[in-house]
Structures are given as structure tokens and as C-alpha cells.
Amino acid sequence: MAITRDEVAHLARLARLALRDDELDHFATQLDVILGAVARVAEVAADDIRPTSHSVPLTNVFRPDEVRPSLDPVASLAGAPAAEDGRFRVPRILEEEA
């Protein structure tokens, strides 16, 4: 197998997806098949080839250090699931910042 159920569970944790057990099994099977298909990129001899990260040949695109109008904070907070005192209210955070 290219990818196991445990690996899928690990990846789901990394990606913050609370997958159910039946989903883990189902996805593991499907992903195994898909990985098998996409892994064929390895067949291509490409040791000396530079990877393409951008297909547009631009460099040095900058903006001047100028202030532009911000959103009204009311607009920024408008879509918030919860807000308090002008801030986004979020559930308790477990981990210290990285």
C-alpha cells in the first residue's frame, strides 16, 4: 500500500480534519489508488531539470510603502462567528505559539 489508514489519520490531524472512522477507511483506499496513479511522475528522468514554481516569468513585483485605506473594522468583523470588544472571539487555544 502506498498509504495506510494510520498515515491518513496523521495527515488528517495535521490538516485539522476530524475524520470519522468510516471516512478514514474509505479515504485510505481511494487515496491509495490515486497515489498509485500520480506516483508515476517518478518515472520521468528529471534530475537535471529545474522545477517550475511560477509559470509567469516575472520578478521583483513590489508595491511602494504607502498606506491605503483599511476596511472598516465593522466590515472586518461582520462575518465573524463570534466577536467581543472589537476582536474575533475564538475558543480556548491549547498550544503555545510555535
Binding site: 488528517a12 490531524r13 475524520l19 490515486i34 511522475v41 528529471a46 529545474r50 511560477h54 491549547l94
Partner: protein
């Protein structure tokens, strides 16, 4: 009284400009049409009646004041629900954004508004643009106006269906692996993916940042070209936006001749998996092109055989990162916040509830492909294959002005047919993906109905980056000749 919904976009604009009908009348006619048929087609997720009529009124007022109206002022348009539109629901076909009203317009949205286009509403799509059938929408599929039991293509099935059902003369889509072109092919309409960087991505909710591109959809090539010129052009809010003049696609579409154009047929886009009727119509199209005076040759792009594999590594990788922001903290769905759970738990529960299966699959695949230890073999290697594919194009374009192929290997398949087989679904993108990987321009134009099922077939025309005009030139000339010989393709669509 002319049926205002049967006009081309160019004709509609003229009618409004010349005062034969008001923009409000035109808008209303299309809103009526939507009300009459969209329950069956389900192209629209949100119809913005007030906004559309307001925009139409504004055009009428400007006309009354003697202002210069642009070439598409007063023309109704359907906007794929992946573009932000201030104050209007934008869902990207997902439950995780249900009800979200953005506080800002995408650059494309703003340019459409500034040009006087009347945005009728937001169209249905595969969730976060992942799919080839619009069956991955969290709000139910869109149906192909040619056969309501069949898919309209994806991810932009809503946009193309709205055109094919005459609910709008113009639409905007996005194309990451074929999401404009493939729906165009299976609905008998026209759809173009401009050169990457040709149209701003600011406000286009990202799927795969290095592949996504916004583009015009219409019922004929000239209309698509007119729309292309409205939305294209440099945007300082998008660092990947090309800072060069927009290729003269309208002039190219009007040019009418392809004498001496060197047209390459890509050998790798044929064979197993291609429906016989699709191959037949494609072959006939090539013959027609040849008869118009173009020089047709065969070319080989050997690495195209790896395009699907490279794409389904690059896209999930980028999207796993792009979709991380949907975490219930700042906007969108929040699930499981009962006062005892942690932020991490609420994030995970929300994403589990708010994302569909295809989205979850690609996020996991992408997380895997970027993982330490796997990056080089998967993502890294895929980006190298991408270079080789781009090189194949470059080499082909040394001897050809444009390349052609079928747009997609089959006609519209049935709803439900491929939904449980992701790989089978991915095969719909076989011909379209290479242009996204290279960043070149590509479009689909109808080339007939397949004999075995009477369903539309699309011809794909590909041009080098920045040479969008070439593909419009060929597509328009072909369309004119094909229509002359066979009549307009949509005349063959069943009445709804």
C-alpha cells in the same frame, strides 16, 4: 418582439445602445428566463434580482445622459460563485462559506461592474472548484440543458449551463485544469482560459494559485473575446498579473481568416479513453481547418502523458495550503463550539462538517505530497515534470502557431456515473491540464454533436503564453465555417 434572451452579447449591447430595448427590459427578460427554467437546471446558487435591476437602471441612466457606453454595457452575465462580490453571498459551492457575504469585490467583479455588465447572480460549481461535473457542489448538482440527467461539466458547470439554457449571454468562469473549457465542450458553448496572469486573481478564491485563471464564457467566440478584453489586464493587487498590453483578441476574432496558420495536432491527445464520436468530430474539425487554408501538422508532446499525474500532485499541494484559512475563526461555518472545546477541536470539527469528500481527499493528498520526506518525490518531482511539459509546448510552438485537440475525451456523462471513482473523474481533464501547467492560453469551441449520443463535442485550441489572439483567430474562423455548414450548435439543444 425579439426574444431578448436569444441574442448574442454583442447584439444585446447594440440593442441597448441604440435604445431598442432598455437594459432593465433585457435584465428582466433574463430574470424571467431564470425563474422559468432554473429550477430544473440549477445553474444559479444566488440570483441577485435587486442588484441586477439596479445595475441595469444605471446603464439606462447613463445612456439617457448621453454617456459613452462600453461595448458590453447592459449585457447580463452569470458570475461563478468563486469570485467575491461585496455584500452578495459567495459560497464557492461549499457549506463552509454558507451565507458569507464578502466585504470586497474581486478585481474581475469590479471590472465587470465598471463596464456596465449586469451581474444576474452567482453560479453553481464543484466545491472550491474541485471537480469535472459540478456534482461536488454542496448545494446539489447543476444539470446539462442538453440532457437534464447529465453533467454540465465542472467545475464551472453553472456558468456554462446558464449560457446553454439562455439564462445569460455571458458568464465568467475559472479554469485550473479545464474548469471553463470542459463545461464549454459538453454544453456546446465557448469558454477560454487566458494566458496565466492575463486576468487578475484578486478576489478569486484560490484553488491552486499557480494554475488558476479567470476567463470568459459565451455562446460564440466574438462574445467571449469582447468579455476577455473587459476583464483582462494588469492588476497591482495581483503580483502574478502580467504587466503588458492585453492581446488584441477582439480584432483577432473578427479577422476571419487562417490562411497560412500552422496548426499542430497533438498526437498524445487520442487513443484509449477517447469516445469514438468525439474523435470523429475532432478529425472532421481538423479537416475543416485545413480546408480554410491552415497548414496542419502532427506534433508530439511526450511528457503530456504525465500531465495528469503532475497536476494531481501540484493542485492538492497548493490547495491544502490555500484552504487552511477556512478554520471557523474569522468567517464562515463554526461547528462544535459548545464552550468546552478547544480552538483546535472546533477547527477540525468545522472542516469535517463543512468540506465535502473531494475537498477532503485533495487536502489529505496535498498534505502528504508536501510532507517532509515526501516533498522531493512528489511535489518537487511534479514541478519538474511541469517544466518538461512546458518545454514540450515551447518545442511544438517552434513549428506551430497553435495546437488543437479534443477538449475532453467524452461527451457529457450521466450524473452519478463517475462520482464514486475519483480517477475516472480526473480523466475528463486529460486534454486541458497541460495548458494550465505551462500557463499558456487555451479555449474550447463547439465542433459538432457526437453521432452516438447527439451531445456536444468541443475543439480545443491552444496558443503560447501572451498569444491569446491566435487562438481566438482560429476559433472564430472555424466557428464561422462550421456554423455555415451545420448551423448554430445550440439550435440542436432541446427546448427547456
Amino acid at each position: 418582439m425579439t426574444d431578448l434572451t436569444r441574442l448574442t452579447a454583442a447584439e444585446t449591447a447594440r440593442v441597448v445602445r441604440d435604445g431598442e430595448a432598455s437594459a432593465v427590459d433585457v435584465a428582466q427578460a433574463h430574470l424571467d428566463r431564470i425563474a422559468a427554467v432554473d429550477e430544473r437546471v440549477h445553474a444559479f446558487l444566488h440570483v441577485d434580482i435587486e442588484g441586477a435591476l439596479g445595475a441595469a437602471r444605471a446603464v439606462d441612466e447613463r445612456r439617457a445622459a448621453g454617456d459613452d457606453l462600453g461595448p458590453l454595457a447592459g449585457v447580463p452575465l452569470a458570475l461563478k460563485d468563486v469570485f467575491t462580490m461585496a455584500g452578495v453571498p459567495t459560497t464557492c459551492g461549499s457549506k463552509i462559506l454558507e451565507g458569507w457575504r464578502p466585504p470586497y469585490d474581486a478585481t474581475v467583479t469590479r471590472r465587470l461592474k465598471d463596464a456596465g455588465l449586469v451581474i444576474l447572480g452567482k453560479t453553481n460549481m464543484d466545491e472550491f472548484a474541485m471537480g469535472s461535473s459540478t456534482e461536488n457542489s454542496a448545494y446539489g448538482p447543476t444539470r446539462n440543458p442538453w440532457d437534464l440527467d447529465r453533467i454540465p461539466g465542472g467545475s464551472g458547470g453553472g456558468s456554462s449551463a446558464s449560457l446553454a439554457a439562455f439564462m445569460a449571454p455571458l458568464a465568467i468562469g475559472t479554469d485550473t485544469g479545464g474548469s471553463i473549457r470542459q463545461p464549454a465542450a459538453v454544453t456546446g458553448t465557448v469558454g477560454a482560459k487566458p494566458t496565466y496572469g492575463g486576468v487578475s486573481r484578486y478576489g478569486l478564491v484560490a484553488l491552486a494559485s499557480s494554475l488558476d485563471q479567470a476567463g470568459p464564457c459565451a455562446r460564440n467566440v466574438l462574445d467571449a473575446a469582447l468579455l476577455h478584453e473587459v476583464i483582462a489586464g494588469h492588476d497591482p493587487f495581483d503580483s502574478t498579473s502580467i504587466d503588458r498590453p492585453v492581446p488584441e483578441v477582439v480584432a483577432a476574432a473578427r479577422r476571419g481568416d487562417v490562411q497560412g496558420m500552422r496548426v499542430g495536432v497533438v498526437r498524445e491527445f487520442a487513443g484509449e479513453g477517447y469516445q469514438a464520436g468525439v474523435q470523429q468530430r475532432f478529425t472532421e474539425a481538423v479537416e475543416l481547418i485545413s480546408s480554410l487554408g491552415a497548414d496542419v501538422v502532427e506534433v508530439s508532446c511526450p511528457h503530456f502523458d504525465y500531465a495528469l499525474a503532475a497536476y494531481y500532485l501540484i493542485l492538492p499541494s497548493e490547495c491544502s495550503s490555500n484552504l487552511a484559512r477556512f478554520d471557523a475563526m474569522r468567517y464562515g461555518l463554526r461547528v462544535g463550539d459548545d464552550g468546552t472545546r478547544s480552538a483546535e477541536e472546533v477547527m477540525s470539527l468545522t472542516r469535517e462538517a463543512g468540506f465535502g469528500d473531494e475537498v477532503k481527499r485533495r487536502i489529505i493528498l496535498g498534505t502528504y505530497a508536501l510532507s517532509s520526506g515526501y516533498y522531493d518525490a512528489y511535489y518537487g518531482q511534479a514541478q519538474k515534470v511541469r517544466t518538461l511539459i512546458t518545454d514540450d509546448f515551447t518545442k511544438a510552438f517552434e513549428t506551430c502557431d497553435v495546437l488543437v485537440s479534443p477538449t475532453t475525451p467524452t461527451t457529457a456523462f450521466r450524473i452519478g456515473e463517475r462520482v464514486d471513482d475519483p480517477l475516472a473523474m480526473y480523466l475528463a481533464d486529460l486534454c486541458t491540464i497541460p495548458s494550465n501547467l505551462s500557463g499558456g492560453a487555451a479555449m474550447s469551441v463547439p465542433c459538432g454533436l457526437a453521432p452516438e449520443d447527439g451531445l456536444p463535442v468541443g475543439l480545443q485550441v491552444m496558443a503560447p503564453a501572451l498569444a491569446d489572439d491566435r487562438m481566438y483567430r482560429l476559433a472564430a474562423a472555424f466557428e464561422a465555417a462550421h456554423t455555415e455548414a451545420h448551423g448554430p450548435i445550440l439550435d440542436g439543444a432541446p427546448a427547456l
